[in-house]
């Protein structure tokens, strides 16, 4: 029993860290650009499908390019579509990205068909690893290591580099950042691209674990929203704590109360927001109220 709980907890961690990757991107895009990106899940799916296509054509080494390509697609999307909505009615950004999400799903359906595409982890990551009572696939360990590394690296980027400082400042007051002489349009494109890159990375990593279908975006975007809300909009630490909480809760309910696995995170969210209306680490930010 105990080893089952432990193993499932580790599975939950893996799931949670994947969610965090997606949620962080959603969070910085919203914080900086003020756009609720409903298409964020679509970029997750794009990442998975790009990895699938590159892997089929050139092998798994090429598949590693998938996140970067997803990020570039994100930059293009920002320049062509999103850019025109800054400072306008927030509802329009919502509609635009919602429609974009559906369009991406339709395009993936057109290109790859509606059926799941097979996507296996590279051979050297196949099989199980056993650590004491914990039994886990090697691939999950790999995902865990990569996500933790990326999150630490991205945190360091935000905390210590001048670019990270621009993003953090811009999340609080983009106008002021612009007045200080920073070229905001480029920063905005960059932030949207980084957000999409993280989502694409999540998609690539999740591809061998989840079924790769055009509608897989839904499985990513809803947890991301929930995590960003539970953690507190705009909080990096909050997103990580909330992500792990949601991941483990989901994994545990899948194991022990499968009927409730879908609803669990929403109940968690409603309960936490009842006690802490701005989420676990949320502060009062004008633009979220």
């Amino acid at each position: 029993m105990l080893d089952m709980i432990l193993s499932q907890a580790v599975n939950g961690l893996v799931l949670g860290f994947l969610y965090v990757l997606i949620a962080i991107g959603l969070s910085i895009i919203f914080g900086m650009l003020g756009i609720v990106n409903f298409a964020h899940g679509a970029f997750f799916a794009i990442g998975a499908y790009l990895a699938f296509a590159l892997n089929r054509q050139f092998g798994w080494g090429a598949a590693l390019l998938a996140p970067i390509l997803t990020g570039l697609i994100g930059v293009v999307v920002e320049m062509v579509l999103i850019r025109w909505l800054y400072g306008k009615e927030p509802l329009l950004g919502l509609i635009l990205t919602f429609a974009l999400a559906l369009l991406v799903e339709a395009i993936l359906r057109l290109l790859f068909g509606g059926a799941p595409v097979p996507f296996a982890a590279p051979k050297f990551l196949a099989g199980f690893a056993e650590y004491g009572p914990i039994l886990i696939t090697k691939y999950r360990m790999f995902v865990l290591a990569v996500t933790v590394f990326v999150l630490v690296a991205f945190w360091a980027f935000l905390a210590f580099t001048p670019y990270g400082r621009i993003i953090r400042a811009g999340s609080r007051d983009p106008e002021m950042v612009g007045l200080l002489g920073i070229n905001l349009p480029i920063v905005f494109s960059g932030v949207f691209g980084i957000g999409c890159l993280l989502a694409g990375l999540g998609g690539m990593l999740a591809a061998p674990l989840w079924t790769v279908t055009p509608s897989m975006a839904a499985g990513a975007i809803m947890p991301a929203f929930v995590i960003v809300t539970i953690g507190g909009l705009g909080s990096y630490a909050g997103a990580i704590v909330a992500g792990l909480l949601v991941g483990i809760t989901t994994a545990m309910t899948i194991q022990f109360q499968p009927e409730w696995s879908g609803a669990a995170m929403y109940i968690l969210m409603a309960a936490i927001l009842l006690v802490r209306p701005r989420g676990l680490f949320g502060e009062k930010w004008e633009r979220f109220e």
Binding site: L85, K88, L91, I95, A99, L100, L103, A106
Partner: protein
Amino acid sequence: MSMAALIRTPAFWAALTLTALTLIWLALSAPVSLITQIAIYTLYGAGVNLLVGYTGLVPFGASVFFGCASYASAFFVTAGYGNDIASLAFAVILSAAMALVIGAVILRRTGLYFSLLTLAFSQIAFEVAFKWTTVTGGENGLQGIARRSFSNDLTFHVFVVVTVVACLWLLWRIAHSPFGRVLQAVRDNEHRARSLGYNVYLVRLGAFILTGVFVGYSGALLTLMLQGVYANNLNWQHAGDSLLMTVLGGIHHALGPLWGAIAFILLEDRLSAITENWWLIFAPILMLFALLSPEGIQGLVQRLFGRSHWTLVRNTIPARPAVITPFESAAINADPDKPLLQTRKLCKQFGNLVTARDIDLDVQPFVLHSIIGPNGAGKTTFFNMLSGSLRPSSGEILFEGNDITRAPVHARARLGIGRSFQILSVFPNLTVFENVRIAVQAERRGAKGLFSNAHELPGSTIGPGRCSTRSD
């Protein structure tokens, strides 16, 4: 109601449009249920738009009412509690009760938190409906809900169109009632509405419950139309449908939801006949509208005719009354020796920064006070404590001898502590007349009706208004 006034109501145009569509479909001998669906979704959208367009709250998951009401009416009929018409009433009551409970909880937050919380509730409802197979039928839903009161699709269609038009008329009356005007005031400038004496939370809750009522009714109608109920409508992808339709039609126009529903459902019907992957064509259309015509279809048409304004308030000013009673302040009888407003040891600190320390002040009636000080002296902090937008760290505030230290802004405004703002603070999307009228309405307790016509309320006598603070 005169003919001209009738033509002005959006419900009349909705009736005309839906009738015309019905006749066309009958003439083509196409199934009229498509038009039934349009009517139902028009009401769904109009209910949602009461929150989006009028109140400025964007629910991502209004489908929680739509879906739960549709299950409620299905359970009601299958359990044999009553006939199909009674099930509609049951669903509406249930939906309103749900709106009361959910709204009371989540309206503590607005903005994105509000939107995401509504989404969470609709997802919980979806998961329950989808997984609780023994009760809800799960993925397959419940079929064979008897529709005994209606002999065929056409009689049901007529029933739907008539009641939907009636609901649209009601919604329109509500929108133009004193309550409806307050909704728009809250949307435009929450702080000002509050400092005029409106309880913003209750106003929003009222709107949320009304949305629950109308969306719930449309959800129950859908059950009767399909003679079945499915979890799909609760899902987040479909939660967006009503919002998409409303924005497509134009959120700042009373008829927006109608145009949106027509465009959405007809396009869905036509496009899905061509290709299963119809979002490939429809999504770009939606995106073009979001980018090029933010006011939706109605905004586009208006622009073609060189007019571009919202149609949520009247642009006219009612006739000037023949006699205007001179203003007489109730404060004229105040005892000049009794202080009106007092502060006792009032303190405010932000962390280590003390902006107000032990302020003792007595304000007598008929006396004008000025607070003077350099930048950063804490004048505005002091005013904010008096008007209630900042809670003091310690000390107390008395008004006519009553402790109001913890009273919310709107309660103080009702006592007669007015406030004007340092910078321009108006309701930007209301007419000048409405800006003034809303302030007068706040002073009159009897004028908060749901159905009276705000535009034509008789001239008013002004209430307390005894003490006003202003910071410049």
